[in-house]
Subunit: 272 residues, 2 copies
């Protein structure tokens, strides 16, 4: 059996999205063992290091990576593993938490636009503007007509970024509620993980189905050729890292980057 490519997880524009039909345990793009999977991810990581260096040197393209997931879905772990060893000069993480009073006085893309990547830069959004059609919707923080029109704002905002030179990759790290249960319990039971536990997570967990609906709608409404969503099976951490790494490396390879030309005549210089 031949493994599928990671395109298998990309949501094509207009595709209906029913998350109950996306298996968080799926592993159809890699049939090897966990150890083999980790080795593959390691190799991809080395390749990512080289590609990021080239991206930075060339200074032409911008790369935006959006990570979304339910609590314990693995956003932090993905960042740590996928970008392990990649030069922090040129890679930046922007984490979007509960908006500050100043942020709330502006439109919801105001705080997000500020953190978009510049030329030669990779920016990873740990949560993002999608919270404004997810948590905001589930908790009725604004009326339906307000969050519904945001899909169009978001499509147009990402179109602007793409038109002006940004490669956008969006990942939903998809875990099952059973997997979340185990991970939350582990946070409670492991002293050095306990700081990550938050009683509010339990209230959110009760709204699982509402969140799945909100995610499904947001992904369907905003997965477009210039800013595709990938639904990544994330019950297995090693597999999740492999898939995310592969998608990013493939996208950077496709940019066909080159090191800038050096000044002519440098090859005859000897430093004395």
């Amino acid at each position: 059996m031949v493994d599928k490519t990671v395109d298998h997880y990309r949501v094509e524009p207009g595709m209906a999205v029913d998350l109950s039909r996306w298996d968080p345990d799926d592993r159809s793009v890699f049939s090897g063992s966990k150890a083999e999977g980790k080795a593959r991810t390691k190799a991809l990581n080395r390749r990512l290091e080289a590609l990021q260096e080239l991206l930075y040197a060339e200074g032409k393209h911008k790369v935006l990576i959006v990570l979304q997931a339910m609590d314990t879905g693995g956003k932090d772990g993905t960042i740590r593993h996928v970008f392990d060893g990649v030069n922090p000069q040129g890679v930046r993480v922007a984490a979007f938490k509960v908006p500050t009073p100043e942020e709330l006085r502006h439109d919801y893309l105001w705080r997000v636009h500020k953190h978009t990547p510049g030329s030669g830069e990779i920016v990873i959004f740990n949560r993002s503007h999608y919270e404004d059609v997810l948590v905001v919707r589930v908790h009725n923080l604004v009326p339906p007509e307000v969050w519904q029109r945001r899909y169009e704002h978001i499509r147009q905002f990402e179109k602007l970024l793409a038109d002006e030179g940004t490669t956008i990759l969006k990942f939903f790290l998809h875990i099952s509620p059973e997997e979340q249960k185990e991970r939350l319990q582990a946070r409670l039971d492991t002293p050095h993980k306990r700081w990550k536990f938050n009683k509010g997570d339990l209230a959110e967990r009760k709204r699982w189905d509402e969140y799945m609906q909100a995610y499904a709608d947001a992904i369907r409404e905003t997965s477009i050729s210039y800013a595709p969503w990938y639904i990544v099976p994330a019950n297995r951490k090693w597999y999740r890292n492999l898939v995310v790494s592969q998608v990013i490396v493939d996208a950077l390879e496709a940019l066909d980057m080159r090191y800038p030309e050096a000044e002519p005549g440098l090859e005859s210089i000897t430093i004395e």
Copy 2:
């Protein structure tokens, strides 16, 4: 003869725009004398002071005012006169000059979005994102397909701002090339105005017709109900100030603002 209202200068969506047919000396909304016009503007200014205080206290609406004009068109003078005496707490001017290297590494709306008003605030853009379809076009700084798609970006960006609570008013201060000639000469001849003169202005002046075409296209493409353009006859400074003041006051009146409710029972308190 009854004077027209300032709506006369609003560009309706879809309207063809030929700037040679908009008279920079027109004064059909005010048939009084210059002294009477100045008195009217003074009264509007007082009203603006009160409305801005209310806007700030209520803290609900955001107001964005965009000023564009050819050199010497009167952007600085308009700001000084229209907002004379208005409380600077709650009013901010953002001037957009030649982009910095950091700004150039991002999309052209990145630096602009940062400066959009928060709730309760009025922000005046002295030049704006429109330069990215004006000077950028006239000087061929990007290929036509790049600036042409920006009209849609700008429409969508302003739609986002409007949907999220921003009142947007855009003014093109329209002077004739003869008036510009006199004003440039006055800058050269008046010692305390000489600092404003820039030899580059003469090169820009030679491209007058190209600029008029770029302005006409930009105004036609982006004058929409939620973000209208006003073409203001600006050869007479007092008349220009009158028209801009009237448009802003009318728009603020239409917001139907109220002071926040005070805590109940305050009327029976005596400070000892």
